[in-house]
């Protein structure tokens, strides 16, 4: 083996400017841009996010857009369902028969005009006679109380137009009250939108309380550690073992039931879970070298907390926030449902559900509307929370 000689002039020194040129060609992406990119890939949480945005917008502008007020009672138009079976009288005269055996004047496409006044109401024979545009309409609802052998078909009533029996012409959506009306003739849509306002207010309170009290409390407890941590966490334990329901009941006794006592009760205890999470995060983050480095530079505890610890704990904070908000909304709905919430005429989803209980068998839509609103909102927040957890914690990424 001979040694190969490379002549010196083949070597050339790289100019100094190029020597250390370190170029990054990848576009600069912040943590949040990256997380957003990952979140966008998760369809379910994007649906959740869109729903939340939609709900927020509806709650803000909805009351100004819809034509009905949440508190105006229209007692003649009570318990009108969202979907109506209409009967034809002549070319452009239709009526809707309500399950309470009342007739309403409607148009063909479902706009409710008014209640039709009967000209004769024979309560002993269970018979009502109406005059619609000169046509005689007879409603005979005596079948409902007849014995089975007299009523083999099991029908409840018969409608006779000028002596001839008529059958439903069509099933149309209620154009005047899209979600129907409640027992006092108030528009369900307007009430559900107002309920959304209250739920979102609760969500906002929960967020603020979590963020300001929970994050700060947990941060201080974790950062200072030792005895401080011990005392602060025992306080958290004590707050945590007292049931929320008890707080609300006690507060209702002192300041009266209503939204205020729910907000105060939630505000005073709802940061506890967040404080625990932040404390855990800070406990592990404060041993990181960048925190030590900030201390060797001479950064104050406040600066270390705000610039270094909280931004790095932001992922878990946001995720648990997204999970705590639906539970706050649900808590409010539950408290309203058992009668500790907002008082009439204000509507929250919980009180709407409670109001619907009386007429549950006849008008189940009154329960469905607020329940579906609660369920969809909670699902949306949970989907978003799940997506955020995956997006903000790359270790959990598939």
């Amino acid at each position: 083996m001979s040694e190969q000689v490379i002549s010196k002039d083949l070597w050339e020194a790289i100019p100094k400017e190029n020597k250390d040129a370190e170029i990054i060609s990848r576009p600069s992406m912040t943590y949040w841009q990256d997380a957003w990119r990952r979140l966008k890939k998760n369809k379910l949480s994007m649906v959740g996010l869109l729903f939340i945005v939609f709900m927020v917008l509806t709650a803000i502008v909805g009351p100004y857009v819809i034509s009905h007020d949440y508190s105006t009672q229209e007692l003649t138009l009570a318990n009108i369902p969202p979907s109506m079976e209409i009967y034809q009288v002549d070319e452009d005269t239709y009526f809707y028969m309500h399950s309470e055996y009342k007739l309403f004047d409607v148009t063909k496409d479902g706009v409710l005009v008014e209640k039709i006044k009967e000209i004769e109401n024979d309560m002993t024979n269970r018979r009502r006679v109406y005059n619609i545009d000169g046509n005689e309409v007879v409603l005979d609802y005596s079948y409902a109380v007849k014995k089975a052998e007299d009523n083999p078909e099991g029908i409840k009533f018969k409608l006779l137009l000028n002596g001839e029996e008529i059958k439903p012409f069509d099933k149309v959506h209620n154009k005047t009250y899209v979600f129907g009306t409640d027992a006092l003739g108030r528009d369900m849509l307007a009430r559900v939108i107002y309920g959304a306002r209250i739920s979102l207010l609760i969500a906002l309170v929960a967020t603020l309380v979590n963020f300001f009290i929970g994050v700060l409390y947990g941060g201080i407890s974790g950062y200072f550690g030792g005895q401080v941590d011990n005392v602060m966490m025992r306080i958290v334990d004590i707050i945590n073992v007292i049931p929320l329901l008890l707080y609300v009941i006690l507060l209702s006794v002192i300041i009266g039931s209503g939204l205020k006592s729910i907000i105060i009760a939630l505000g005073s205890v709802y940061w506890v879970g967040m404080a625990r999470i932040v404390r855990g995060q800070v406990l592990s983050l404060k041993e990181q070298e960048y925190v030590l480095s900030a201390r060797t530079i001479g950064a104050s505890s406040m600066r270390i907390m705000i610039r270094h610890l909280i931004p790095n704990a932001m992922g878990p904070i946001i995720v648990s926030m997204a999970m705590l908000i639906p539970s706050a909304i649900f808590t409010e709905a539950f408290l309203s449902f058992i009668g500790l919430g907002v008082s009439a005429p204000l509507a929250s989803w919980g009180t709407l559900a409670n109001d619907a209980l009386g007429g549950l068998r006849s008008y189940p839509y009154q329960l469905f509307v607020p329940s579906i609103a609660i369920s969809l909102t909670m699902l949306a927040f949970n989907f978003l929370g799940d997506g955020l957890r995956d997006a903000l914690d790359p270790r959990l990424r598939k």
């Binding site: 600069s28 960048y290 030590l292 610039r307």
Partner: protein, 333 residues
Amino acid sequence: MAKQLDQNDVLLEVKNLKKHFISRHGLMGQHTTTVQAVDGVSFKILRGETLGLVGESGCGKSTTGRTIIRLYDVTSGEIIFDGVDISRIKQREMRQYRKKIQMIFQDPYASLNSRMTVGDIIGEPIDIHNIAKGEERQKIIWNLLERVGLNKEHANRYPHEFSGGQRQRIGIARALAVSPKFIICDEPISALDVSIQAQVVNMLQDLQNELGLTYLFIAHDLSMVKHISDRIGVMYLGKLVELANADELYDSPNHPYTQALLSAIPVPDPDATKQGQRIVLEGDVPSPINPPSGCHFRTRCRYAMDICKEVEPEFLEISPNHFSACHLNTIEK
């Protein structure tokens, strides 16, 4: 590297430094265990000098460094920096020294806050000490980036976009931002690739020459330490066992532990390894919670005698500027 150092110009003197960590157990903290992480370490560092500190994991090298910069409170002993004892002063008074003493950390991935841009990371010490604002601050940051071999365009990027070596340079730029006199390098190269290690070490040397810095260089890679250090201290279980000029320590190690450490350096020659000069230490490092009596090294020392069990060997100057703590030195004489 022959640096002209004034033997009387001592920048940092550590006298009998101790750092014990006390952990409490039990309901009311009635039981305690004490970890004697640093247990009586003394050395001097001259202005412009690099003192290497070596030893195996858990021997207290990093704790020594962190205690000097007062990340930990001193249990006992003195840290005299530029003539002032900073071991007991309050954190508020310590602030002015934080501009003079800086630290470079081991893990380039953990030592930079991933939510801040590189410009903000380097700018943070400038903000804290109100050194400059606005355009001037920007200029300082750009200068620092260029000084450590990065571009000024990098100031707007985030740490995760950089490689380990680049991140370590950002860490160095941050340490330099306050124009310190003394930098504690806490294993700055052990997390890097070998090819990058040389770059970073050479850069540290260039910076030392340009800016007249003094280093305490903590590492466990002996060949790299020899390359950068003027003098080297060897630590074992919280104590300094040998301290000598780099060349002398390598040529004539005195303490049995140093001998064992040096014999473990791989030699790039297969024949040399076969001849078997390696001293293999038996067993593990004893726990610093309950260190052996007398000489801490006696449990693993092949020369261990009865006296080692009872008397702690003194840290004596066995030849000019060569200190060692071993009974063999006193008995032979």
